[in-house]
Amino acid sequence: MEKKKRSFSALICVAVLLLFVVFLENLSAIFPQVPQVFMPTSPLFTVLKKAAVYSLVAVSMNLLNGFTGLFSLGQAGFMLLGAYTYAILTVPTAMKDQVYYLFEGCAFDFSLVDMFGGIFGSEGAGGAFSMVLGCLVALILAGAVAGFFAYLIGIPVLRLKSDYLAIATLGFAEILRAIFQWQKLGKITNGANMIKGFPTFSSFNITNSSGVEVLRLSTFVPFLISSICITVIVLLINSSYGRAFKSIRDDEVAAEAMGVSLFKHKMLSFVISSFFAGVGGALFAMYVANAQAKAFTSVMTYEILLIVVIGGIGSVSGSVLATFLYVACSEWWLRFLDSEQYIGSFKVPLLRNGFRMVVFSVVIMIIVLFFSQGIMGNHEINLGALIDKITRRSKRSERKQ
């Protein structure tokens, strides 16, 4: 009963957060005089969007590394699969010739958005509905493709021990990157060029008939999708499967002795993690408004791994928190380190392009070396309990009065 109540209040918290995001984004429309930070072009919204996308990928990596103890470095590869699946399936048919002009058109002349447009109409509300439906189906397929490839590669590599698994999955990601840049597949993947023209986050902004934005939802959409996915991952972790994962992490031999099928559960964790990495990759493509194999390098995997470490290996809320901190620092708060700064007439030394990342990586090294637990260790922020505490306290104060 208590548990049910807590998960219910956690759900309310997430809903409130989502509403707050919608409110924040439309603040400038309601009050035109708000400070620059709340304007739609402000870095605030870039950070929020990117962090929402990255937090999903970080949590999916944490499911694998933190909860199942499988040290995999293939995340960028599965993101790439998701990004391309989404992009190929949603580029409107009318745009295909333009996007694939180097290869004289795309191999399959079909787009989910247009397909649903054919059913529900492509104008007005019907058009909006078919776009949302098309994107949704494409997102799920993006995850499914990533999960399917994870299953295929998982059969051989999941037998490997810790660091061999890491290097094999890293290698798999590099192989994928090469395949997607192969010119012979240009009709499908557009070779080494980027695919663009598909619906992005800003396509979800609602405009009226004269093209003026009525309701901005471009930040809300990644938040919504990420929170749904993360909720599913949390439910999985708290289920009996999640307990089996943790037992594998803590002691493989003991887990096997207790009747946990190692291979089955490792595979399950690997496929689910890759599914969400694929969805995350599709979201990433929506965020940057293009899909290009060049972006999904091993550096991206390292970045996500470092986020997971900063948040605490084995803590979902830690990963989410760390993602927002990490993205905010790298995209916004530490930006000033990249250009020359003056305090009065004194020129601060060392500041020039690239210094931000140096400071940043030094901070990461300090965390890795001296605070290896990260922000949260393996604890969670328990939203339900938090609310419980607050409500109880207010009740107590009421009683006193």
Binding site: I153, D163, F172, I175, I313, N353
Partner: protein, 295 residues
């Protein structure tokens, strides 16, 4: 025919350069069971130092200085980033290695301003020579011989000296050799010193034949060298060298295939495909010892 010779020549030379990096990986992995992700970046930093020093100093001073400073760098990395985590789980050390790699790449971007840097003309190595009708650089000819000499010297070091004996002992059994009075930290430092010195030599040879150094230029050769080390059986020096030559030659052959096939993008992917195949069918590599896990 001439084409075949030129492909084989450059394959052998690339292989030799990978071999020098691969030895660093295999030594460290043999002792610490750590994939030193930062090793490729140490190699890149050595290349950058080569550019900066040869611009101001005569080559005779600059190149030894590059080797010395690379050794210092390798030593410092071990002391600062790996030693504090000696008793931590293996995953933490690997994460620390990834962190160091990230730091080195970002620092290199800061110092160079993100511009690709070209390696200077080292008179002796960059001059061209005519071998069996094909023009090639001296470095291509010199590399395999230099590699063989260095490997020979290293084998002597490991088999005949006291440090070498300690290295072998530690790689066999970390805990026991510590109990027998081997100074673990010294041995580990020695390993990093040897590995970094070889990487520095490798970087001089590799980058003279390479268009430009970017901050990420070390990552790919590093990973390939690691694959070579796995291929040969991790912990085995001859294995790493043979693996590296094989990978170097295969890679150059793939790059040299007719351009209408357009398979040169797979020169990197091939290495990793090889890795996955090796790990599935012969995880201990060509010359590695099969390890058994005790419960």
């Amino acid at each position: 025919m001439e084409y075949v010779i030129s492909v084989m020549l450059s394959g052998i030379s690339v292989g030799g350069q990978y071999a020098l990096i691969a030895i660093g990986y295999t030594l460290v992995y043999g002792i610490l069971r750590l994939i030193n992700f930062a090793h490729g970046d140490v190699f890149m930093v050595a290349g950058l130092m080569g550019i900066y020093f040869t611009a101001t100093l005569p080559i005779g001073v600059a190149l030894p200085l590059v080797i010395i400073l690379t050794v210092v760098l390798g030593f410092t990395i071990e002391r600062a980033a790996y030693k504090p985590l000696r008793s931590a789980p293996r995953m933490s050390v690997m994460i620390s290695a990834i962190g160091v790699s990230y730091l080195l790449q970002n620092t290199a971007t800061y110092v160079t301003g993100g511009q690709p840097m070209t390696y200077p003309d080292l008179r002796l190595l960059s001059n061209t020579v005519n071998v069996a009708g094909t023009q090639t650089k001296w470095v291509v000819i010199v590399t395999p011989f230099l590699v063989l000499i260095l490997v020979f010297a290293l084998t002597l070091l490991i088999n005949k000296t006291k440090v070498g004996m300690a290295m072998r002992a530690v790689s066999k059994d970390f805990e026991t050799s510590r109990l027998m009075g081997v100074r673990i930290n010294r041995v580990i430092s020695a390993t990093f010193i040897v590995g970094s010195a070889l990487a520095a030599v490798g970087s001089i040879l590799f980058f003279t034949n390479y268009p430009a150094i970017t901050p990420t230029a070390g990552a790919m050769p590093g990973l390939k060298a690691f694959v070579a080390a796995v291929f040969g059986g991790i912990g085995s020096i001859p294995g790493a060298v043979i693996g590296a030559f094989l990978i170097g030659i295969c890679e150059t052959i793939i790059k040299g295939l007719p351009s209408s096939w357009d398979v040169s993008v797979f020169s990197d992917a091939f290495t990793f495909a090889l890795l996955i195949i090796i790990l599935i069918f012969k995880p201990q590599g060509l010359f590695g010892e099969a390890a058994t896990d005790k419960v």
